[in-house]
């Protein structure tokens, strides 16, 4: 006899006791109305005191320096300074959005929902991961900008010289005087035919699709990927060993908070600390016009 098996949903909305409920009209509608009103007034006031920026008419022959993307993309623009363009501009955000969308399929427990920081360790996990993401990103930016080496030299008279140039910035690793790359390493063929659809020509990326430039691949893709993936894994592993990460939810809180910290730092640096030539400068050295730092 055939048996029919009906799949049961993982969780269902639970019935609620009527005495725990309030009417949407007026209780919720009132809250919504007040918050909408408050924001309308605030935005009217902001619009009254602060004008939207309008610079000179667009001119392809006059380059803005620094040319900056909208502020919410400045985190990606900041990443571009430290790694391969395709990795920073496309791969990292795409992979992160996929990971973000997959959160509920990774953490399927129904416990701890509907309350802020419901899990035992969530507050300390959040604060610590946020700080690690925030200050860790700053440390990496300062190192890769060469500023750290500059300050070491200015303040302590320390200079690494050529052999320790990688302490100044990762790009130094591409230099044959720092790492003795063999002559063939910058052009390793791996396709024996010319696949035209893949080859976008010069400037398309670190490699054409017929050859691998190993030093560039390592420095522009390998090291940044290692830092991004490795540090995230290391943080989760360390907190697991410390007994702070016990569940998948804890791991996600660590990952998300670390991301938020890094995202904030990248956005802040890209917005307020990048001047002409994308050099690191202090915000007060940026020329400002109508409240938009770095734009003239």
């Amino acid at each position: 006899m055939a048996t029919v098996v009906v799949a049961r949903p993982a969780a269902r909305p639970t019935p609620r006791a009527r005495d725990e409920e309030v009417l949407v009209w007026p209780d919720l509608v009132f809250v919504e109305f007040i918050s909408a009103l408050l924001f309308t007034v605030l935005l009217f006031l902001l619009s009254y005191v602060m004008n939207a920026p309008l610079l000179d008419e667009a001119n392809a022959n006059v380059t803005n320096d620094p040319a900056k993307a909208p502020w919410y993309l400045l985190n990606l623009q900041e990443l571009l300074l430290h790694m391969n363009a395709a990795l920073a501009g496309i791969v990292v955000p795409t992979v992160w959005l996929i990971i973000l969308a997959a959160f509920p399929y990774f953490d399927r427990s129904t416990e701890g929902q509907g309350r802020w920081f419901a899990d035992v360790n969530s507050v300390k996990n959040t604060v610590l991961s946020l700080m690690v993401g925030f200050w860790g990103t700053l440390a990496l930016i300062i190192w890769n900008s060469g500023k750290a080496a500059l300050w070491l030299k200015d303040w302590f008279g320390f200079s690494g010289g050529d052999t320790l140039a990688f302490l100044e910035r990762s790009a130094a690793l591409k230099d044959p005087s720092v790492v003795p790359w063999p002559g063939w390493s910058d052009s390793i063929p791996y396709l024996w035919f010319n696949l035209k659809i893949l080859d976008e020509g010069p400037g398309a990326g670190v490699t054409t699709f017929q050859h691998i430039d190993l030093p560039t691949l390592l420095v522009d893709i390998g090291i940044p990927t290692g830092f991004m993936v490795g540090l995230a894994c290391l943080l989760i592993y360390a907190l697991w060993k410390a007994g702070w990460v016990l569940t998948r939810r804890d791991a996600l809180i660590t990952l998300m908070s670390g991301f938020v910290g890094a995202f904030l730092m990248l956005t802040i640096i890209g917005t307020a600390f990048r001047g002409p030539g994308q050099d690191l400068i202090w915000p007060w050295d940026l020329r400002t016009l109508e409240g938009i730092p770095g734009q003239e």
Binding site: V24, S47, A52, L54, A58, K68, A85, L100, P104
Partner: protein, 250 residues
């Protein structure tokens, strides 16, 4: 023993009766004035806008600190941007010859034009910030957990659409800020392996930011992306209801 006598209707009662118990009012609103629990529930259930809500919700959900109204405010920004955007569209032509002059015209010659443009600009920034904060609220309250998995995914799509809406609007003033921001932004898109340069070409309608890019960004900004966002928002709101309202402890 004194017998309670009916009192004479006051002026207020008469006005109330004339306003809410007449043929025209009842043709628009099927329910009476929402001053009884029955009418309060009916007004939510029978109104096309309010019926996004259930008639009753758990008492913890009206606490401001539960959600900070972030999702609702994001939607409110979307509505405000639609209104101010339509007003700006009356005066704006997306051609390289006119775009910049039209913006100047809006700011100087149009009644409340500067205010409308400012509102549109600051609301757009507010929407990006609010949608991000809303995502954080949902995450840190564990509201993505079953049975709300799919609605979280819809939310991620809406986050991307919000960024795209803001990004496409950035070019429209056709000033140096807009031109170079979009040049940088589309260069980021163009850096993708294999499909990047083709995506950039498709976005810009050419190899650089020009008239074709302006019309494409305009069309995406005023029709394509808002339509897509509205569809996903409808699904998002509908799923909140279907998945049992806001998340709360089981």
């Amino acid at each position: 023993m004194a017998v309670e006598q009916p009192t004479q209707p006051t002026l207020g009662d008469l006005i109330y009766d004339k306003l809410f118990h007449n043929y025209v009012w009842k043709s628009i609103f099927r329910t009476g004035y929402p001053n009884t629990p029955r009418n309060q529930m009916l007004v939510v259930a029978t109104n096309v806008f309010l019926h996004l809500h259930p008639t009753r919700i758990h008492r913890t959900h009206v606490k401001i600190t539960h959600t900070y109204c972030l999702g609702g405010l994001t939607f409110f920004m979307f509505l405000g941007l639609t209104v101010t955007g339509i007003l700006l569209m009356f005066y704006y032509v997306p051609s390289v010859d006119r775009a910049y002059l039209d913006i100047q015209n809006i700011q100087t010659n149009v009644q409340f034009g500067q205010l409308m443009r400012n509102m549109h600009r600051w609301m757009a920034h507010a929407m990006v910030i609010l949608v991000f904060l809303h995502m954080l609220r949902v995450f840190y309250t564990g509201a993505y957990k079953p049975p709300r998995e799919f609605n979280w995914v819809v939310g991620v799509v809406l986050l991307v659409l919000t960024f795209l809406l803001s990004f496409t609007g950035y070019l429209l003033p056709w000033d140096q800020l807009a031109f170079w921001a979009i040049t940088v932004g589309t260069n980021i898109a163009g850096s993708a392996p294999v499909l990047g340069p083709k995506t950039r070409f498709w976005l810009l309608g050419g190899f650089e930011v020009g008239p074709d890019a302006l019309i494409r960004f305009y069309t995406l900004h005023v029709i394509g992306l808002p339509l897509l966002a509205a569809i996903f928002m409808a699904v998002h709101f509908w799923r909140i209801r279907r998945d049992g309202g806001l998340a709360r402890p089981l």
